[in-house]
Amino acid sequence: MAGNNSVNISFTVNGENFNNVNVPSRQHLADYLRSQGFTGTHLGCEQGACGACTIEMDGKAVRSCLVLASQANGANLKTVEGFDDEMMEKVKQNFLKHNAFQCGFCSPGMLMTTKEILLNKKKLTRDEIRSEISGNYCRCTGYQSIVDAIEECINEIN
């Protein structure tokens, strides 16, 4: 047996430094972030199937329940609390306008998935948008309003 039950790592969350913190080896990143007060990252299934915990890790969307906290060594993480740039503010306005969420539990993951769609700068049809968000579960809306909001974001950007 090698290694330890906790690991000392450094990383950033929304630009804030976390230097030399000890994380339990077995803890996934979502639980770690939540324990530090980033409770906007939600857990729906802990097996990658619902998309609620999707965050940004080094510029890419990842399921934070399928990444160990220890794997975040050296990473730049962004959670919903840090989605405050101009593009994401616009996205939020469109989500609000189209009522693209009801209970709000899926929203952090849905916003991250939207962010990645927009960063890819592709003009997508409604069916393609549905394909891109098909890993994010929403029980409330039935998805149409979310597709409406993302479609408007894409039109504004392209």
């Binding site: 097996q47 609000l96 929203s107 098909s134 994010n136 998805y143 979310i146």
Partner: protein
């Protein structure tokens, strides 16, 4: 400001005045916090000295617990204690899930943790309390249980057989409840019928799969004898009563706080054994205790729904007039009836609602509800509707096909006419203010049936089976005391609102209705601001806290807008009246010459007014300036309940077109239309989103969702990868339109809108699929309609 999309209720005042918010699709500004990660869900809460629990759950559907050894678990890292039924029962009294108003119900006592016998896979048996959830789960592995597995009664269809395993021997058999409705003489009428059609449909078990799982933090404060419960429920005052009753606490000293709730759909309105155990543990150890169900626990312990097999028979004359309808429904509810609402209501609604839109002079319905060794079943969104609507509408299509009549025509000639209300369902339940004729006309107008039929034929030539369907339905909303209260349940059917003008000029509103994402806070704000004459942004709202809101029922059965909204309207009107009286005194004029607009008391005929802030300052800080005897109350409260009828019904008409891939059996929904008549729409966008979300949930049941069990009673697909919820790619856009018939029961005129989509979609999908399959003489009778069932129907496998 958005255009008013609907014809407003004249009782609500003119449309072109300032601050007319009712009827406008305003965005939910209050909900933006969710987009900033600022929601406050139960799992987001951390309290000092808080501990976590994990439950040891029965791995068997039916087993005797011969012994439990918790010694090693108690020594595990971070463990505070380990309890079994013995310790929990010292603090929490058992309950029985029966009600008194629906005939005899038989369900035994239930305790938080199973004693001696476990009766479903997932039933809690022991609980570890530890510093973290992970440590609690570590210790679970160290608990030794000596199990003696027993034969399980899994299949509801054999539950009443003489050789069935009797789950509660003291009851003698597995019957929970049965009811028969008999109106007229069906036997005689069937003999007279020119055509009689029959169908037997079955509906799998499914469950709510709220994205946020059930969760609770119980915090017993010994110094104050006070229990504070943070809970993601739908009915805080009901929980307050139940926790006080079973833990023997002073009800006034139990506080339930339900902040943000990540979806509920009826799943979170019931009393769960594990949550009761958590409150008992906090009382016992004097520390805050958190329990958040993981997804496996959600699948095996959240209530399940549906699980029905229903046979139906419909007789019509040669002109298509319905002469008689008969149904026989069987449902399996797991080993216990849920508390306190019972597990009889779904079947009861099937009996109440079948045939509801139509004139059916002879109606007979039998419902039988049995126990089985599966997860308990109870009320979930659109209780009973999917079964009632599917059997009714399937029979009507069959009758139409048999006498060669158009599917829309046969419905139209049988509707209870729009001008014939008040009226009654075939079951005898009173109906009023409905519009099946107008709604179907609107549906046909937006669907363009001719074009759809042409497309169906064209597709058939290409080898694609395309078909369509239309349905009509009644939707139960806004229940009265005749729903639960009359049967002995302490569930309020009245709701309250309290509204005040504060010293700053701000308006504060509190309501006993709760928010789970529907937009409760937004519509309450719209009603209050509209009726008071203030800007929306000057109103703030408190919901979901028994210490801070008026007493009431909470949010379930689509009662928020119609009941809670009316209470807000009445409170706002009272406050306005008070304000105008005070203003009249200050301004030394007649009250009738005054009004409130944009947070100012104005003189209708012009001249200087007074801001609400100035008025409030006078009242609060310089009350001595007011004329003697002025009633200076800037706080108004009001309550509302539905009286005299069991429910305020809503009606809906839906249509869809589907295509079936004959090679793979995969169904594609090409288009879906819904017309809803929910009376006054306070926020049309939010109404539409209730319809859409509901329809998708209904499509889930129709095509995807099923709790799959093996014959030993083990759930086979209790993960989100294996239980198929509707995801975005397979779901259609839904065109929503409205007819508006206001409810005469209230000033606001609103009915509910949350159930129809889920209640109607399974029927219209099934009818469309069978319309498509009819072209090759095939048929499906079982939901979810899986690709395999389609291929079997087509004779391909």
């Amino acid at each position: 400001m958005d255009d008013i999309k609907v014809n407003q209720n004249p009782k609500l005042g003119s449309l072109d005045r300032p601050n007319s918010y009712i009827g406008r699709s305003l965005p939910r500004e209050n909900a933006k916090k969710h987009l900033d990660g600022g929601g406050q869900f139960v799992d987001d809460l951390t309290l000092p000295r808080m501990v976590h629990v994990a439950f040891l759950r029965s791995p068997f559907a039916h087993a005797e617990i011969k012994s439990i050894n918790t010694n090693d678990a108690k020594k595990s890292d971070g463990v505070v204690d380990v309890f079994t039924a013995k310790e929990i029962d010292e603090v929490c009294k058992p309950w029985i899930g029966t009600l008194g108003h629906l005939g005899e119900m038989r369900s035994p006592e239930q305790t938080p943790l199973a004693k001696k016998i476990a009766r479903w896979q997932g039933e809690p048996v022991a609980v570890v309390i530890a510093d973290s959830r992970a440590q609690a789960e570590d210790a679970l592995e160290l608990i030794e249980v000596d199990w003696a597995e027993k034969e399980a009664q899994v299949d509801m269809e054999t539950a009443l057989d003489s050789n069935a395993v009797v789950i509660h021997p003291e009851l003698g058999n597995n019957l929970f409840w049965t009811r028969t409705v008999n109106q007229g003489d069906v036997e005689k009428a069937f003999k007279k019928a020119d055509a009689v059609v029959e169908a037997t449909l079955d509906f799998a078990r499914h469950t709510g799969v709220t994205l946020e799982s059930r969760g609770i933090v119980a915090d017993w404060n010994k110094a104050e004898n006070k229990m504070t419960i943070y809970h993601n429920g739908q009915a805080p005052h009901m929980m307050q009563h139940i926790i006080a009753k079973h833990l023997d606490l002073n009800e006034g000293l139990v506080r339930i706080v339900s902040r943000d709730v990540g979806g509920s759909f009826g799943i979170k309105v019931h009393v769960y054994p594990d949550e009761m155990a958590v409150t008992a543990i906090s009382k016992k150890i004097g520390r805050p205790v958190k329990f958040i169900a993981d997804r496996l626990e959600s699948f095996t312990t959240d209530i399940h729904a549906r699980c029905h097999k229903i046979s139906g028979k419909l007789g019509v004359d040669k002109n298509g007039k319905i002469l008689a309808m008969e149904i026989d429904d069987l449902s399996g509810i797991g080993p216990f009836s849920m508390y306190p609402r019972t597990s009889a209501i779904e079947t009861n609604q099937v009996l109440n609602l079948s045939g509801a839109p139509y004139v059916i002079p002879n109606y007979k319905a039998v419902g039988t509800v049995v126990f089985q060794n599966k997860t308990p079943m109870c009320q979930y969104r659109a209780v009973g509707h999917p079964i009632a609507v599917a059997i009714t509408e399937a029979l009507i299509d069959k009758a139409a096909y048999k006498i060669d009549m158009d599917i829309d025509k046969i419905r139209k000639i049988n509707f209870i006419p729009d001008n014939a209300y008040p009226n009654k369902c075939p079951s005898g339940v009173p109906l009023e203010d409905l519009s099946h004729e107008a709604s179907m006309d609107k549906l046909l107008e937006i669907m363009d049936i001719k074009e759809i039929e042409a497309q169906n034929e064209e597709d058939f030539k290409k080898g694609v089976l395309t078909g369509h369907g239309v349905i009509s339905m009644c939707e139960v909303t806004n229940p009265s005391p005749l729903f639960y209260g009359v049967g002995g349940a302490h569930i309020s059917s009245q709701d309250g609102a309290s509204i005040r003008l504060e010293g700053s000029g701000a308006i504060h509103l509190s309501s006993s209705i709760t928010e789970q994402g529907q937009g409760t806070e937004a519509i309450m704000k719209q009603i209050a601001a509209d009726q008071l004459g203030v800007k929306m942004e000057s109103v703030r709202v408190t919901l979901g806290d028994t210490d801070a809101t008026p007493y009431g029922g909470g949010t379930w059965a689509s009662r928020g807008a119609g009941i809670g909204g009316e209470a807000v309207l009445k409170a706002a009107r009272k406050l306005k009246d008070n304000i105008l009286n005070i203003a009249a005194a200050i301004m030394q004029t007649d009250k009738d010459t005054l009004d409130i607009e944009d947070n100012n008391v104005i003189r209708k005929n012009g001249g200087e007014g007074i801001t609400l802030q100035k008025l409030a300052e006078t009242v609060y800080y310089r009350g001595h300036e007011l004329p003697k005897g002025t009633n200076a109350e800037l706080l108004a409260t009001a309550s509302f309940l539905i009286e005299g009828i069991p429910f305020v019904f809503t009606n809906s008409a839906m249509g869809c077109q589907v295509s079936i891939d004959q090679d793979t059996g995969i169904i594609k929904i090409n288009k879906f239309w819904a017309v809803e008549d929910c009376g006054t729409q306070i926020n049309p966008k939010l109404v539409e989103e209730q319809i859409r979300g509901g329809v998708i949930q209904g499509i889930g049941g129709a095509l995807f969702e099923e709790c799959v069990y093996d014959n030993q009673g083990n759930m086979q697909n209790a993960t989100m990868a294996d239980y198929l919820v509707p995801m975005a790619y397979e779901m259609p856009d839904i065109i929503v339109d409205h007819v508006t018939t206001n409810s005469g029961r209230s000033i606001i005129g609103a009915k509910g809108a949350g159930e129809a989509g889920t209640g109607g979609a399974p029927a219209v999908i099934m009818n469309a699929v069978n319309n498509a399959l009819k072209q090759v003489n095939a048929e499906v009778v079982s939901q979810p309609i899986t690709p395999e069932k389609i291929l079997k129907a087509l004779g391909k496998i």
